[in-house]
């Protein structure tokens, strides 16, 4: 449907989408016809009646009430037709059905807080079941925002001091962009996320599991989520790249630094490398990695550490045990860890097979929704 490189329409994932698209394309056809007619006559007349051309200019016309009326009344009637079509659709889109499932949204600079009636909360990600009318009741904590999901073809301002609502019925499983569409300050463009449309059964399951696709995440699964959400996986992939060394087999290995010294990669070293990476640079790399000293909490560093450990000296797939830093249960099988990690990271992708996912998470799979998971884990 969409051209690979030149998409002309967003995914169509709600009951509104076909109606809006119909009206939209209809208006484009009208625009094209009208523009071509005007353009044709203007250009044709300009050339045909060009100064010195042998065209017939006898009996020119200067006023014609009939013509004036024609081209006032016809656009007027067409306008009323468009108005009727638009207003009918608008009233439909602004009147939520009584049985709609209600979800609550709070906007604040620059984040969406979403709460499902049973208490499940999420940030910047909205999970909704397919084929169910959903009504969002929204309010802003500070300035005006707007909740905009292009794939659903609907949006509504989120205003401080009053509730606004928005409803839609998702029709297609998948992940869609969620944007803030009312300028709200410095990070306006990053106040977005993902809307995840799930099969109804999966959604119930998801709600029951407190917003997890399967069960509560283990520490290294949470670490894996942070790993992808803050973009570690962009540079630290399965292989050494020019951007950064791989972390596979890092834990417990000997690191050689740019100044020629070396050390064992232990917990201290990993923590230091996350918070102040430039103090000891691995040989062959420059000061490219940002410092996270101000951006991560100790808890997040701890989770990252447990995750990086599982990428440890033992090659993936081989069973092995790791020391238990906090006393939390960590699965002893590397293979099992991989699988769980992959599933939780791709929890949003229902229906898609997670088999291709590796613990380091595919490059480019970084979705804004992952940020939400990160927030939630704090």
């Amino acid at each position: 449907m969409n051209f690979t490189n030149f998409p002309i329409a967003p995914p169509s994932a709600s009951t509104f989408a076909p109606q809006i698209d119909g009206l939209y394309y209809f208006l484009w056809i009208f625009t094209a016809i009208f523009t071509l007619i005007v353009g044709f006559f203007v250009v044709f007349f300009s050339i045909h009646y060009k100064e010195g051309s042998p065209a017939d200019r006898s009996r020119p016309l200067y006023e014609h009430i009939g013509l004036e009326l024609t081209w006032s009344v016809i656009p007027g009637i067409l306008g009323l037709v468009f108005f009727y079509l638009g207003a009918r659709l608008f009233i439909h889109m602004r009147t939520p059905p009584k049985d709609a499932k209600e979800i609550f949204v709070v906007g604040k600079q620059w984040m969406w807080h979403i709460q499902h009636p049973n208490g499940v909360r999420e940030n910047n990600t909205l999970h909704v079941p397919i084929d169910t009318p959903i009504k969002l009741t929204m309010i802003s904590q500070d300035v005006i925002h707007a909740f905009f999901v292009p794939a659903f073809r609907t949006q509504m301002m989120v205003v401080p001091g009053r509730y606004t609502d928005l409803w839609f019925t998702p029709t297609k499983i998948g992940e869609y962009h969620l944007f803030c569409n009312m300028y709200c300050g410095t990070q306006h463009s990053e106040m977005g996320g993902t809307v995840v449309v799930m099969p109804q059964a999966d959604y119930s399951e998801w709600l029951k599991n407190n917003g997890m696709a399967v069960a509560n995440l283990t520490m290294e699964q949470r670490g894996a989520k942070i790993f992808s959400s803050i973009g570690c996986d962009k540079c630290h992939t399965a292989e050494d790249t020019i951007h950064g060394p791989t972390l596979n087999g890092l834990y417990g290995s000997k690191r050689i630094f740019t100044d020629g010294s070396s050390a064992m990669a232990n917990d201290e070293y990993i923590r230091e490398s996350i918070l102040k990476p430039h103090s000891r640079l691995t040989k062959g790399y420059g000061e490219t990695m940002p410092e996270y000293a101000n951006d991560l909490t100790e808890e997040q560093v701890l989770l990252l550490n447990t995750f990086i450990r599982t990428q440890g000296a033992i090659p993936a797939g081989t069973a092995g045990t790791t020391s238990n830093l906090t006393g939390a249960e960590i699965p002893s099988s590397g293979a099992k860890t991989n699988k769980n990690t992959a599933m939780s990271v791709n929890a949003d992708q229902h229906g898609a097979t997670p088999s291709t996912a590796t613990p380091t998470i595919q490059k480019g799979k970084l979705s804004v929704g992952a940020t939400a998971a990160n927030e939630k884990n704090q």
Partner: protein
Amino acid sequence: MSETAIGTGGAEKKTHASPSYLEDGHSIRSWLLTGDHKRIAVLYIISVTFFFAIGSMFAGLIRLELTQPAGTILESETYNRVFTGHGIIMVFFFLVAAIPATLGNFMLPIMVGAKDLAFPRLNLLSWYVFVAAGVCLFVAILGGGVDTGWTFYTPYSSLYSNSQVTWAVFAAFLAGFSSILTALNFIVTVHKMRAPGMTWFRLPLFVWAAYATSVIVMLGTPVIAITLLLVVFERAFHLPIFSPELGGDPVLFQHLFWFYSHPAVYIMILPAFGVISELVANFSRKRVFGYHAIAFSSLAIAGLGFFVWGHHLFVSSQSMYEGVVFSVISYLVAVPSAIKIFNWTATIYKGNVRLASPMMWALGFFGLFTVGGLTGLFLSCMGTDIHLTATYFIVAHFHYVMVGGAVMAYLGGLHYWWPKITGRLFNDNLGKVSALVTFFGFNLTFFPQFILGFLGMPRRYHYYYFAPEFQVYHVMSTMGASFLALGMGMPAFYFTASLFNGKKAGPNPWGAHGLEWQTTSPPPTFNFEETPIVLDDVYDFDPVSEHENNRRALEDGGDQ
């Protein structure tokens, strides 16, 4: 309100050949304290060109930044200041003033056969207020810039933004006042200063358009002025007017803001309609078709334009039924614009079309304004507006209307009246090339943005790394912007060149009709040697000579 510092004008007025307004005093003082509407218009042309250049530089930065999904050179904070600067400068300092204060100031008194505007000192004051507004703007920009967007939506602008909002708001406030002073002058001049025989229905359509514009300015601008003042009060004293945490209503601001700012769209486009009417009639060398229809449609737009502001608020939590009313009136206001387009087309029919450079700009206007106007239907149609509002579709739509409409018309008018203003002819071929390059550059810049908007790209977004599918259209748009810059930059060169080596223009180089072409180029300080008496109708191209032209053309055609 006297002839203040017009220098030696009084003495030489009696002699037969008065000096042109350009030669009547050469000191800086004679320019800065002038009461002459023509000199003030020239001051305005210099000022708005300056602001246009700054605004365009901001636009260039925006386009450059958006070629990469994660930005190229700016931080988000800076980017927000850049697009706000672009918006404020282009709207308040270029578009509102562009045609009325420059071409209008220069031509309107001459077109009605007056010696000057009714209140010359008020006119000069208007320019000084405009300059003061510009100073405030630069204080705001140099003090770190403003990041609210040109719409200054509350409560962001009043309580949350840490940028120079107060200075910027004050700049917009003063710029508004300067436009009120110009409008007041126009209204009085059109009512009371017409030459003998210049009846209302002999007024050139440009005058009608300027008159309708002035009515809107007088009624709308005070409202935005007080609204912006309230924002400043809320910021400074925490007056609870628009901030809900204090007990105010943020949507009230949007109502008050758009009560002015939607009519302001017509403040920008109506004078453009006026210019196009002049160009079409004079370069088709034929009386304009449906003179009354075009004149009254300007007034209809001025009237109806005040009742459509709510179509900016379909999704802002105003009542649904309120939205329905605003939507239907928005469709009604489209009709007068359609009437104009049809009448202009009918004017070209059976004309003697001279495809000189001003006409090329006018033809460009037809293409771009038609698309701009029709895409407005998508937005007054409430169903599609829910999806398209505040996306790049809006951005594309208003650039088609404002740049494709108002700026094309401004440049067309500038080409048309340049010989009258400066007394010099410019290179007409370069003018045509410039119009063509602008037309194609413009379409390449802004058409992809319609698609971007439908895809869901929100306006005022700095990053879109989470939606890389948008990039291809941004790259196209930036490519187009380079052509656009070239097309719009060219006139600066050949106009400047014409001042030094342009051929002297006679009183009427285009063979156009109208009082302004009956006086010398450039006109004397008091516009006419003696007050003209208007005996013929407007655009009354002599049918006999036109017929003669026609016959000769037929013969020439036969010879070949």
